[in-house]
């Protein structure tokens, strides 16, 4: 075991953390509202959009993350190039676009599909009786969603949102395949010079472990904080 390398690479890999967080965070930020919109379409069974939403969700959820990334990274740039430059002659250098953007898009697509299911089931667990009670005291359907249903659905969705975030965080380790210099990529690159792969993998493991633990603490806190009303009777 090369301890010097282990420690050196550890600090080196830490420089990949911001990108990992950026990709995870951006995917989540895009995924939350869009996933909610998709859930809405599925719950309301909105014409035309509904079958598309269902098809999209099952397609994304059924496909391994690695495959999505490979497919996306190898095909999308060429595809975009055809559309943007051959058809519209905009002259944008598609192949020069930062791969981080592609990574964010892939993980956002994954987040949207999964979060839409998380939101859908969370909303459906809220007893429709509360909606009726709200109608009777004069709330509009939008007000009911905003003030009664969504706050409760969010609380019951938090653990699942946490799981998904954790999965995306771990999934971003695959972004090295897109030449994104996130944690895994940095460590692997360092190892490739000296073949100290074991040390590099240990470093990666430790960093993900710490990030994952922090994430779990954050979501536990959120769950507790947002779920104050669920506190059981004290007396």
């Amino acid at each position: 075991m090369n301890t010097t390398f282990l420690i050196h690479t550890f600090w080196l890999s830490i420089s990949g953390i911001p990108l990992t967080i950026l990709i995870t965070g951006a995917a989540l930020l895009l995924g939350l509202p869009l996933g909610f919109g998709l859930a809405w379409i599925k719950i309301r069974k909105i014409k035309v959009l509904y079958p598309l939403a269902v098809a999209y969700t099952s397609l994304i959820r059924a496909t391994p993350m690695v495959l999505l990334i490979l497919l996306f990274y190898s095909t999308l740039p060429s595809f975009l190039n055809v559309i943007i430059n051959k058809h519209f002659h905009l002259g944008i250098k598609v192949f020069d676009i930062n791969p981080v953007i592609y990574a964010i898009i892939v993980f956002a697509l994954i987040a949207i599909a999964n979060l839409s299911e998380v939101f859908r089931s969370a909303i459906l667990t809220i007893d429709p009786g509360q909606k009726e009670a709200a109608l009777m005291v004069g709330l509009s359907p939008t007000q009911i969603y905003r003030r009664i249903i969504i706050p409760q659905a969010l609380v019951s969705a938090i653990p699942n949102i946490g799981n998904l975030t954790l999965n995306i965080l771990k999934g971003t380790s695959l972004a090295f395949m897109m030449a994104v210099p996130e944690i895994t990529a940095v460590a692997k690159t360092a190892a490739s010079y000296t073949y100290n792969y074991t040390e590099a993998y240990i470093d990666i493991f430790v960093i993900y472990f710490i990030l994952g633990a922090i994430l779990q603490v954050i979501f536990k806190f959120l769950e507790r904080y947002l779920g104050r009303h669920k506190l059981k009777r004290t007396a």
Partner: protein, 260 residues
């Protein structure tokens, strides 16, 4: 004040309400009785358009509604005159007792926050739960939750309150407090329709008792006549099935316990 004409409702091929007629005068407390499945809930929910009826007319003061052609606006206007108390309370789980009452005042009826708070506190005080203002529904007993439900409906000062078996989800020892609160509303002159299986309560508090069976109003009368001299065979059978003892002995039990 409220007249319902020929109210009909089908579920699939099953005709649950076969043409209900009912008139309610201002200040009346109407107790709605009937065997399970006779359509009491369907009727009450139909009045509030929670599950709209198929046909018939609802005339509420100067508002005339043809159920078949009711618009969203008609329904909204009608609901403004109604309060609804649900069998399983349906309190907003993410709001405290006080917020549950305030919600309709502030958001539904656009009453300024400070004023709404005062009204809400007053309403909670009336049902004996002022000190539970900050409790969430999960921290209330069934009886307390239902009293909040009643306060929530009554605080808006609706012209009529519809109550669907307000005590049947409660443990027996919690029923009395809730009935007491309803009686108090009756004493204040509130107009109400109460679906109930509490015969003693119906007898004591109602101005009129209506018996429904198989989707029809079979008999209605003032309480003493209704219980002591039932006319139709179906009502006689219904009353005899409910143990005579419970009618005789249970009466006024809810008055023994006092709220506040």
């Amino acid at each position: 004040m409220l007249t319902v004409k020929n109210f009909k409702k089908k579920y699939h091929q099953h005709e649950v309400l076969k043409g209900i007629d009912m008139t309610i005068e201002k200040g009346d407390v109407v107790a709605l009785l009937g065997p399970s499945g006779s359509g009491k809930t369907t009727f009450l929910r139909g009045l509030a358009f929670l599950t709209p009826g198929d046909s018939g007319n609802i005339i509420f003061d100067d508002q005339k509604i043809d159920i078949q052609s009711a618009t969203a606006n008609d329904i909204k206007q009608l609901r403004q005159k109604m309060g609804f108390v649900f069998q399983n309370f349906n309190l907003f789980a993410n709001k405290t007792a006080l917020q549950n009452v305030e919600e309709g005042l502030v958001i539904g009826h656009k009453i300024p926050k400070a004023e709404a708070k005062q009204i809400a506190q007053e309403a909670l005080k009336k049902v004996g739960l002022l000190e539970f203002s900050d409790h969430f529904p999960s921290q209330l007993s069934g009886g307390q939750a239902q009293r909040v439900g009643i306060a929530r409906a009554a605080a808006l000062n609706p012209e009529i309150i519809l109550l669907d078996e307000p005590t049947s989800a409660l443990d027996p020892e919690l029923v009395a407090d809730v009935l007491q609160v309803i009686k108090q509303l009756a004493d204040e002159g509130k107009t109400m329709i109460v679906v109930t299986h509490e015969m003693a309560f119906a007898r004591d508090v109602a101005d009129k008792v209506v018996f429904m069976d198989r989707g029809l109003v079979v008999e209605q009368n003032e309480p003493a006549e209704f219980f002591d001299h039932p006319k139709s065979p179906r009502l006689k059978e219904f009353l005899s099935r409910i143990s005579a003892a419970s009618v005789a002995n249970n009466s006024f039990e809810y008055e023994k316990s006092s709220v506040n």
